[in-house]
């Protein structure tokens, strides 16, 4: 079983990191583009930028996490992968758990690295940067779990991708409130709550997404 899950993770990472649709480069560039556009939109005033920059990084991270949603689950259902896994006794729950991990690895750490550049663009100070990075570390696994769950729920629906984006944004509000909120309060409690929300989402994701994939099978 471990060998099979390892093979799954290897395939998922290969497709998500180096896939044809830009892999991990596209979300990171998108993220940096948003961070770069923001000063143009609100003006180059340093205080304003450093005060709002952390929140911008969070919104940009959320949007970047939405980009690969359409290729997280649906292609594997259409190509018959989930049926073949089911025949081999690999449950949808396991596949989803591995996919959440792969999805997170493909955008979480890259975004945390890109945040260093974004922080420089937005003029964040060291303390804020530390809070942003810790918040992203606590929050992006939840975003990954949420993304995979919603991708499974909307797989096969017409306009599923747009719908997935619309569904993820409101559901990600708690992560955003606590994550970005930790910047305003300056304490670690916000990060702890972000982590708590992430853990709940991580715990739900395999079962919710697994049930959705089984339900879509006909």
């Amino acid at each position: 079983m471990i060998a099979r899950l390892g093979a799954l993770l290897r395939r998922d990472l290969g497709l998500l990191l180096f896939g044809r649709r830009g892999g991990t480069v596209l979300p990171v560039l998108f993220f940096l583009a948003v961070a770069m556009l923001f000063p143009f939109a609100v003006g180059p005033e340093p205080q304003l930028l450093s005060r709002t920059g952390g929140g911008v990084i969070w919104v940009a991270a959320l949007l970047a996490a939405i980009l690969p949603l359409d290729r997280l689950i649906e292609p594997d259902i259409e190509l018959g992968f989930f049926d073949q896994w089911a025949l081999r006794g690999i449950s949808e729950e396991w596949v989803v758990a591995v996919r959440v991990l792969a999805h997170w690895l493909s955008f979480g750490p890259p975004l945390m690295l890109a945040s260093l550049i974004a922080a420089a663009l937005l003029g964040l100070d060291g303390v804020s940067l530390r809070t942003v990075e810790l918040g992203l570390l606590a929050g992006t696994p939840g975003l990954a779990a949420l993304g995979v769950t919603v991708a499974a729920l909307t797989a096969g629906l017409r306009g599923g991708t747009a719908l997935a984006g619309l569904l993820v944004i409101p559901l990600a509000v708690p992560l955003l409130i606590f994550g970005a909120g930790s910047l305003a309060t300056g304490g670690d409690s916000g990060i702890a709550l972000t982590g708590a929300v992430s853990l709940v989402l991580l715990a739900i994701a395999p079962f919710a997404a697994g049930a959705a994939i089984r339900g879509a099978r006909g």
């Binding site: 044809r20 259409e78 190509l79 018959g80 992968f81 073949q84 025949l87 081999r88």
Partner: protein, 192 residues
């Protein structure tokens, strides 16, 4: 090969609000083969998916021992990867050593991305995946679609070898499938 059996009792299948078939029972022991015949849309694929455990029957039960290998219209190979890499994923999943690529006429195609393969070549690739899985129960949904004459003979020979080695083979097809000792089941007899 591990011991295997496949039995279904009083199966019924409903798709949407349409009852496709009802009262279907069958029983296959090791080494036996069954050809499910019927017109398009009569429920052959649904029956195979029920036998595979992928679809819940509307009524009735399925009893099965032994792993199931399924071939249907979807090859379950990553379209953008070269054939060798796409098959290597399933080799790692199944712990298989060799997919008999040479015998299936795929040896010269290992560098070609799966999306460039023809229908028949994809079918051969699916057969390679099936052979690597080494499952005792084969469920083949229209296995001959898109295959040329040589490949049809090869697929029939593979099925015959599989049954001779103690495996079960269920073929759902509107085409003929030559396999010694194969029984037939006309799904129209059970249409509701």
């Amino acid at each position: 090969m591990q011991g295997c059996s496949l039995a279904a009792d009083d199966l019924a299948c409903r798709r949407g609000d349409r009852l496709l078939f009802a009262g279907l029972s069958l029983s296959l022991a090791a080494g036996e083969a069954l050809h499910i015949l019927g017109a398009n849309g009569i429920g052959k694929s649904s029956l195979l998916r029920i036998l595979a455990g992928l679809l819940a029957p509307f009524a009735g039960t399925v009893a099965r021992t032994g792993d199931v290998g399924l071939i249907d219209e979807r090859p379950a190979l990553d379209p953008h990867q070269p054939l060798a890499r796409a098959l290597a994923f399933w080799q790692r999943m199944d712990g298989a050593a060799d997919n008999a690529l040479a015998r299936l006429g795929l040896a010269h195609l290992t560098d070609v991305p799966v999306r460039y393969l023809s229908t028949g070549q994809k079918k051969r690739a699916a057969l390679a995946r099936l052979l690597g899985q080494a499952a005792p129960v084969w469920l083949l949904d229209e296995p001959l679609n898109g295959l040329d004459r040589d490949a049809v003979r090869l697929a029939q020979a593979l099925a015959a070898e599989h049954c001779a080695a103690g495996g079960i083979c269920v073929v759902a097809s509107h085409q003929g499938f030559a396999l010694p000792g194969m029984r037939t089941l006309a799904l129209a007899d059970y249409a509701a």
